[in-house]
């Protein structure tokens, strides 16, 4: 995977430096913060390339991923949607990538149609899956991009919390987005994340981590 290190006074500056070196746009990269001080932020920016050769183990030809791929391909055909379905290599859990032109309708309002398609897929493939195992369905990397976006939102919120000491309540998010935020911040010693409110208006609160009582 192609990657570059970027340094700057702010997170945006550091990412931009790396993007220029990589000649890539922001939507095609994953950002990892290596260090962050008041004076300088250092990031590692890695290119996400769906066609890049992967060193991880590909899904077996007749594996669960292939069964799910075949079923989704047939389903899309019946829906009159022309799209390619592939199994993302080295992905855990099994992820199906749907790509093609004008697939916005397949994503739907706030990803609702995509989520429905994923539910249907899991019901169809259910008997081939182990207990607790699930298939993730992504259209044009929408879900992956959303995860990257919310991770960036989490990092920004964390920086602000560290500067001001005040907690920040983020917008209402879907469960997989909240999960991405909790995972992004779980290793940060200075901030903590929790959720408040009820579905579908449940929001993540990023706040300062209080020192453990002695």
């Amino acid at each position: 995977m192609k990657s570059a290190e970027g340094r700057g006074r702010t997170l945006d500056e550091a990412v931009d430096v790396a993007l220029i070196e990589l000649k890539e746009s922001r939507r095609n990269v994953d950002v990892k913060i290596l260090s962050e001080t008041a004076e300088e932020t250092i990031v590692e920016v890695s290119v996400i390339d769906p066609n890049a050769p992967d060193h991880s183990i590909p899904a077996p030809a007749n594996g669960k991923g292939e069964i799910a791929r075949g079923l989704v391909e047939t389903l899309l055909k019946h829906m009159g949607i022309r799209a390619q379905v592939s199994v993302r290599t080295g992905s855990e859990p099994i992820t199906l990538d749907i790509s093609g032109r004008d697939l916005g309708a397949l994503i739907g309002w706030r990803g609702e149609t995509l989520r429905a398609l994923q539910s249907v897929t899991n019901v169809m493939v259910g008997r081939h899956l182990d207990e607790g195992e699930r298939i993730i369905v992504d259209v044009e990397r929408y879900r992956q991009r959303r995860e990257h976006t919310v991770r960036e939102i989490a990092m920004r919120a964390a920086r602000q919390v560290k500067m001001t000491g005040d907690a920040i309540t983020l917008d209402a998010m879907q469960p997989f987005e909240r999960r991405a935020i909790h995972l992004a911040l779980e290793g940060d010693p200075d901030v903590t994340s929790s959720s408040i409110g009820e579905e579908p208006d449940r929001r993540v609160v990023v706040g300062p981590r209080k020192p453990a009582a002695e």
């Binding site: 429905a116 259910g126 469960p175 999960r179």
Partner: protein, 94 residues
């Protein structure tokens, strides 16, 4: 027009089920809470829920009671949401 209240209640039930399926890990959702959310939908007045929407909601409620996987319950609720929209579209045409 599909009832906004009905769509909101069905979406709330879907969000609860998806929260279980996606394992957000930040709340404990029990089958009782999901069943309550579906019952909230079914309590809407007759004119707000077409018979097929009511049927899908009933099936979703049965699926929760029978301990069916979250994805199955979600799929049935999405069907209810789709039927609600379809009903609205037909009403607009008539």
């Amino acid at each position: 027009m599909p009832s906004r209240a009905a769509a909101e209640r069905i979406r709330k039930a879907i969000a609860l089920v998806n929260s279980v399926a996606d394992e957000a890990g930040d709340e404990e959702i029990t089958p009782t809470e999901i069943a309550e959310a579906i019952r909230d939908c079914l309590e809407l007045p007759e004119e707000e829920l077409a018979p097929n929407v009511r049927r899908y909601l009933g099936e979703a409620l049965d699926a929760v009671s029978d301990g069916m996987p979250a994805d199955f319950v979600a799929m049935t609720l999405y069907a209810a949401l789709g039927a609600l929209r379809e009903g609205g579209a037909k009403a607009e045409l008539n």
